[in-house]
Structures are given as structure tokens and as C-alpha cells.
């Protein structure tokens, strides 16, 4: 099981790097958890009922406080679930940026590719917890809405970055 070996090796490297907040590697190590991801901004299905995922379930497996969680396949920053928020909620006193960028991540439970928006929570400075960088579906900056090197707090009252949520916006209908 070469794949699994690599998976766990990368996971533990990740843990080592993020438990030491100062370790810049947390910004820099990329992680591939499972499957591939599509870089292109796909049409978003908004018909399903909005619902915030707060805890793992059979259909949404994994630990939202871990960089390995499937939705974080293209996150770059601090995980709001470690900062007083959740996977889909900003921490108290921060403002969600409505302008954001979009990634595509595969859910290992159903094998589907989901459109994920990585909204930044803004108006307090760097949370500093659970730094996580994964560039699975990232594009260069000339495609800004597929780029995670931008501080997306530009859509908030103050463009000061605190952390990032990962919100399901629909299924990639390819």
C-alpha cells in the first residue's frame, strides 16, 4: 500500500510542522490526502439547502481541526476551527469576507468533487493556530479566484486576516 504509506508519512510531517506554530513549514508543506482536484472554477449548484457541517459524519469524514481534512485540499492559512470558529463559521468578532476564492476537493466518502469556497475571516490579526497549506487545486495569480496566496479579506471592512473557513458551495458537475 504505497499510497497509504505516503499518506501517513505526509500526515505526520504535517502534524510535526503545525504543532510548532513558528515552523514556517506549516505554510509551505503541501499535502495530498486522497484523489485529485480540479483547478477550474466550475458552476455552483446552489439549490441544496444550506447547512453548516460542525462535526465529522460518515458522509463527511475527517477531523476539521486537522490539515488532512478533505475540504482543506486547497487552503492556505489558519484553520478557523482551531481559532474559535468552525469549518464553516468565523470566530467571534471576526467578519467573513464575501469575496473569496474557490477550490475543488474530492470527498473520500462519496468520491464526489465538491466546490469549496475558502472564505477568510477578517478584522482580527493572524490566529496563529493550525497553519495549513495545501495547493491541490491552486492556479497562478493571473487566475485570482483560484489562487490562495491572496489575502481575501479584501472584501471585508478591514483587510486584516485571521483565519479561513472551507464551505461547500456545490458539487462539481464537470
Amino acid at each position: 500500500m504505497k499510497f497509504l504509506d505516503r499518506f501517513f508519512e505526509r500526515s505526520s510531517r504535517h502534524v510535526a510542522s503545525t504543532t510548532s506554530r513558528r515552523n514556517f513549514l506549516s505554510k509551505l508543506g503541501s499535502l495530498m490526502v486522497v484523489g485529485t482536484a480540479m483547478p477550474v472554477l466550475l458552476p455552483i449548484d446552489r439549490t441544496a439547502k444550506a447547512l453548516a457541517a460542525e462535526s465529522p459524519s460518515a458522509g463527511d469524514p475527517g477531523d476539521p481541526n486537522s490539515c488532512d481534512y478533505w475540504r482543506y485540499c486547497s487552503v492556505d492559512g489558519f484553520l478557523c476551527s482551531c481559532c474559535g470558529g468552525s469549518v464553516t463559521s468565523c470566530p467571534p468578532g471576526t467578519e467573513v469576507s464575501q469575496v473569496t476564492w474557490i477550490g475543488t476537493c474530492r470527498n473520500p466518502a462519496d468520491g464526489l468533487d465538491y466546490i469549496i469556497s475558502y472564505n477568510d475571516c477578517c478584522g482580527k490579526h493572524s490566529c496563529g493556530q493550525c497553519a495549513c497549506t495545501r495547493n491541490d487545486s491552486e492556479e497562478p495569480m493571473y487566475r485570482p479566484f483560484n489562487n490562495n496566496d491572496i489575502n481575501w479579506c479584501l472584501g471585508a471592512k478591514a483587510n486584516v486576516y485571521n483565519c479561513t473557513v472551507a464551505v461547500i458551495r456545490g458539487v462539481a458537475t464537470g
Binding site: M38, K49, G84, C90, P108, K124, V167
Partner: protein, 380 residues
């Protein structure tokens, strides 16, 4: 939505390492906004983070030590001190802002934060004199009825800015030259500790102006060094000397009543080199009526601010040592919670939080890396 549609979409992506799922596709979501419950859990802790490697944009980290979870943070200016109102609704910070962060126009403000939303409720500009020191407890304090906030100023002239939280404006600036800090007493008084060894007590009227002032002899600074970072239970304050002698003062009467001193160490322990040391080196758990002190086994005079892994517990009534707690990491500052099942909290020198259950004396866990340079812990 029919499952076949998703399967089709999946096939269209040209990759099917994982077979189509038996679950329905996850629904779309919206972004939420976390709020904290009120009243706060009695264990909620506020870690004042000096951010020593920056000291301009600084923070207070709010933590639930039971669940080992960060609840959020306050962004403060210039290593602001913080104080919790007794009604548990508000945290105050005394911030310094510069228009160009390290230069330009200075603006000092008292910021009132809502403990539920961790957002600023209001702010008031205060004289640009706030003391800039390693954060300590009585550099920012408040009256027992939450009406007035006391801000310690050092320019190096020493004054206290009295802020009226009801009128949301500065009520007065009180000269305390030669003395430091504002140890709050009751609703309208605060004490300051003087270089002469005196205690100065200032009484305010309901407008926040000085109505009375007394000075009492407290200790002899030529004979001993009293750590100014005291701890209080009601109107009684406990100071410790660098050699481990407790000086208590009961401020509840008209004049301060100096309590008999007592030693943390026996003669033998003292000979063995035991003495207190640390930053906020003492804590009190009121429901247990116990005092906790960071202790060194290898005392030397220059170690009085050094961290330690060892904490001694004392009964405040009998002054007897009743236990020893030991942390896996060096602790610099302590605080205890005020409830019936109290925790002792300590900031370790790596920025982590050590938690002890005070009923059992057991070290429960370390929350690693929860802050950068935590100088102080506050609890409701």
C-alpha cells in the same frame, strides 16, 4: 438530486479511484459566525499575549481549558493590559495605537469588548500616558461595582486615569507620584504601592474625582524587596518578598490593616534554597481559600522573576503548606478560577497553557502553542 447525476459528473472528470458513494451528496452551506455563551463558563481563560517579537499588534487569547479549545481572540494595541468586569459582560483593554504603527500620532484608548461576541462595544480616548511594561494585573483594574476603570500611567510621572464606564468618558487623572499601580478596593477606592514602602489609598467620589487620600507605612524597602505583583481575595491583598515572606493587607476598613507577616518556607526549606520566583507568581482559589506560589529550589537574588515547574499550595487560614504541584514545563504566570471546582492555570515559557485540577492537585494537560508570549491569565 438523483445520484446518477453525480455519478455522471464524476465519470466526466475522468477519475474514479473511489467507487460512487452510497451517501447522498453533501448539501451546500453558508458561512456562520461563532458567538460565546453567556454567562461564560467559570473556567474560561483570557491569556494576555505580549507578542514580545512584535509588541505593536498584540492579543488576548480566549481559551476553554476544559475542552482545550481556543474560543477566539481580541486584537489589542501596544501590549495592552486587560481587566474583566465583575458582571462578566465586558473585558477592558487599554490600547496604544500609532498612526504608522511604530511612529506618527499616538492615540491611547480604553476599549470595551463584549465577552459574548469578542467585538469592541465602545472605546474612549484616554490621556496618551498609559504605562508600557510587561503586562501585570493591577496596571489596569476596576471598581467593585464596574463603574470605574483605573489605568496606570508612567511617563515617568505616575498617575491613574479614572474612566467612567457609565458616562464612557475620562472622569479624572489622579496623581500618585512615587507610587505605582491601582490595587482596587471596594467600589470607590484604590491603593498604590510606593517606593518609600508606604501604601497610598485614594478614595473617589461618585464622579470619579479624588475625595480622600491616606498614606500608611507598609514595609521597609531597604530591608526587603516586595514583589509588586500581588494577588487579592476580596479586599485583602497578599504581597510576597523575594525571600518568601507574605505581607498581607486588609483594606476593608477605613484604614489599611497590615496583617502579621508569615513565611512560605520553614527555616530548613529556606536553608535548602527555596524561595518564590516568576512573573505573576501567586494565585488564589477563593472557594478553597488557598494560595499557590511558584517556587524555586535553588534561589539566588537574580532569579526572582525566573520561571519554575514547582508550585506550592498554602491554606490561607492556617498558613500551612498543604501540597506541591508540578508541571511538565516551566511556568511563568499563574491564575486560579473562582468556582467550586477550580482549576489552576499556568502559562509556560513556550506559550502553552498548563492546567491543574485543584481538587485533586493533578496536572490535567498542556495546551501547546496557544499563544506567543503570555504574561498573564485572567478568569471571570
Amino acid at each position: 438530486m438523483p445520484l446518477s447525476k453525480f455519478a455522471a459528473g464524476l465519470l466526466a472528470l475522468g477519475s474514479a479511484l473511489i467507487p460512487p458513494s452510497l451517501y447522498a451528496a453533501l448539501p451546500t452551506e453558508t458561512v456562520g459566525q461563532a458567538e460565546l455563551p453567556f454567562p461564560p463558563s467559570p473556567h474560561r481563560s483570557y491569556l494576555i499575549d505580549f507578542e514580545f517579537d512584535n509588541m505593536v499588534a498584540t492579543r488576548v487569547v480566549v481559551v476553554d481549558p476544559d475542552r482545550q479549545k481556543v474560543l477566539g481572540m481580541l486584537s489589542t494595541g501596544g501590549a495592552a493590559p486587560a481587566v474583566l468586569a465583575h458582571d462578566q459582560k465586558t473585558v477592558y483593554t487599554a490600547d496604544i495605537f500609532f498612526s504608522r504603527y511604530v511612529r506618527g500620532t499616538r492615540t491611547d484608548v480604553l476599549t470595551a469588548w463584549d465577552t459574548r461576541t469578542l467585538s469592541p462595544s465602545w472605546e474612549v480616548e484616554i490621556p496618551a500616558k498609559r504605562a508600557s511594561t510587561l503586562t501585570e494585573k493591577y496596571a489596569l483594574s476596576m471598581s467593585g461595582d464596574d463603574r470605574f476603570v483605573y489605568v496606570y500611567n508612567f511617563t515617568p510621572s505616575q498617575t491613574i486615569t479614572v474612566v467612567d464606564t457609565q458616562a464612557r468618558k475620562v472622569a479624572s487623572e489622579v496623581n500618585i507620584n512615587g507610587c505605582i499601580l491601582a490595587y482596587p478596593i471596594g467600589d470607590r477606592r484604590f491603593a498604590s504601592l510606593c517606593g518609600s514602602g508606604d501604601l497610598q489609598v485614594t478614595t473617589l467620589d461618585d464622579n470619579g474625582k479624588v475625595s480622600d487620600r491616606t498614606t500608611s507605612k507598609f514595609f521597609d524597602p531597604e530591608q526587603e524587596k516586595l514583589v509588586e505583583r500581588a494577588i487579592h481575595l476580596g479586599d485583602t491583598f497578599y504581597f510576597v518578598t523575594t525571600e518568601g515572606v507574605i505581607h498581607g493587607v486588609d483594606f476593608s476598613g477605613a484604614k489599611p490593616r497590615i496583617l502579621p507577616t508569615w513565611s512560605l518556607t520553614t527555616e530548613q526549606e529556606k536553608k535548602d534554597g527555596w524561595a518564590p520566583g516568576g512573573w505573576q507568581l501567586m494565585a488564589i482559589a477563593p472557594r478553597l481559600n488557598r494560595l499557590y506560589v511558584l517556587m524555586h529550589p535553588d534561589h539566588e537574588r537574580h532569579k526572582w522573576e525566573d520561571p519554575s515547574t514547582i508550585i506550592w499550595a498554602f491554606d490561607l487560614k492556617t498558613h500551612k503548606k498543604v501540597g506541591t504541584l508540578e508541571a511538565p514545563n516551566l511556568i511563568w504566570s499563574l491564575n486560579a478560577t473562582n468556582d467550586d471546582a477550580p482549576l489552576l492555570l499556568g502559562t509556560n515559557i513556550e506559550g502553552g497553557l498548563e492546567t491543574f485540577d485543584l481538587k485533586t492537585g493533578k496536572h490535567l494537560h498542556t495546551m501547546e502553542g496557544v499563544s506567543k508570549t503570555p504574561t498573564l491569565i485572567l478568569n471571570h
